[in-house]
C-alpha cells in the first residue's frame, strides 16, 4: 500500500521538538477501517503502481495490457465487444486503439460480415510485445502472491472473480 501501514502513523512525525504540538494524536481511520471499499481502493492503487513500474520498459498501462490480451485471445472481435468485455467506454477505446495502432501493435480491419464493424487483431510486433508483457505481468503477480501469501492470493482471486 502507498501506504496503509504508514498511513496510520504519528501525527507528529518525531521532528526536533515533538512536544511543540499540544496533542500528539494517532490518526484514526474511524469507520473507514470497517469499509471494504476503502481497502479495495488502497490495494488497487498499490497493485496498479507496481504493475506500471514493472511494465514501464514496454510503456504499457494496465488498460493497454488488458486490450492486447483480449485481442490476442479473440482475434477478429469488434470494438464494441472489446469495450463491453473490459467495461470501458467505446469512446475511450477509440483513443486507446489509436495509440496502439500508431505504435504498430494492433490493426483495425474491415469486418467481412458487417460493414459497421472493425475486426481487431494484433500485428506481429503486437504479439511480440504482448509475450514480453505477459512475462512481466506474471512476475508482478508472483510478487503480489508473495506479499499476500499463496492461500490469501488464491482466496482473493476466487472471491473477486465470482463477484
Amino acid at each position: 500500500m502507498p501506504d496503509a501501514k504508514h498511513a496510520i502513523k504519528r501525527a507528529v512525525p518525531l521532528r526536533k521538538t515533538p512536544q511543540k504540538r499540544t496533542s500528539a494524536l494517532i490518526i484514526d481511520l474511524g469507520v473507514l477501517s470497517e469499509r471494504l471499499g476503502y481497502f479495495i481502493r488502497r490495494t488497487q492503487l498499490w497493485v496498479f503502481q507496481d504493475f506500471i513500474r514493472r511494465l514501464s520498459s514496454l510503456d504499457l498501462s494496465p488498460a493497454e495490457f488488458s486490450v492486447l490480451v483480449v485481442i490476442g485471445a479473440n482475434t477478429g472481435l469488434s470494438q464494441s465487444e472489446l469495450a463491453t468485455t473490459l467495461g470501458i467506454e467505446r469512446a475511450r477505446l477509440v483513443r486507446l486503439l489509436h495509440r496502439l495502432e500508431k505504435r504498430g501493435l494492433t490493426q483495425r480491419l474491415p469486418s467481412s460480415a458487417d460493414g459497421r464493424r472493425h475486426a481487431l487483431r494484433l500485428t506481429a510486433d503486437g504479439q511480440k510485445i504482448l509475450a514480453r508483457a505477459k512475462m512481466l505481468a506474471a512476475q508482478h503477480e508472483a510478487a503480489l502472491k508473495e506479499k499476500l501469501g499463496a492461500e490469501r492470493h488464491r482466496l482473493l482471486l476466487e472471491s473477486l472473480r465470482a463477484f
Copy 2:
C-alpha cells in the same frame, strides 16, 4: 460488477440474425482471468458506483466521505496529516477542502502551535451530514456483505486491511 459476469458474454448478443457473423466466438479474458489486479479493479469500480449511488442524496463522493470521517475522528489534525493518512495529494486535498468548506461542512482554523498549519474540524452541519452519510455507508456495506457472503466479506476485509 458492471459487469464481470456480463462482461464474459456472447460476442454476438443474440440479435435477429446471429448466423450473420462468421465466428460466433465467446469472448475470452485470456491471462486476465489469472490477474488479481484485473478483478480488484473491476470490483473497486462496482463498489464505488454503488457507494456513489447510495450517497447521491447527500452529494458526497467516496473521497469526500473519507475526508469527513477522518476529520471527525481526529479533530484538529493538519492537511498534511490528513493527506498522508488517506494517500491523496496535498494539492488535491486543498480543492476537496475548498468545496467542503464552501458547503459549510468543514473549517480550517489557525493552529496555535505552528503558524504554517491549519487545524481541521467539522462544523455542526458537517457532523450532521457525516452522521447521515455513515448510515448510508453502512447500508452500502451491508449490501456488499450480502452480495459476497458474510464469510467472504470478513476474509476480504481482513486480507486487504493487512496488505
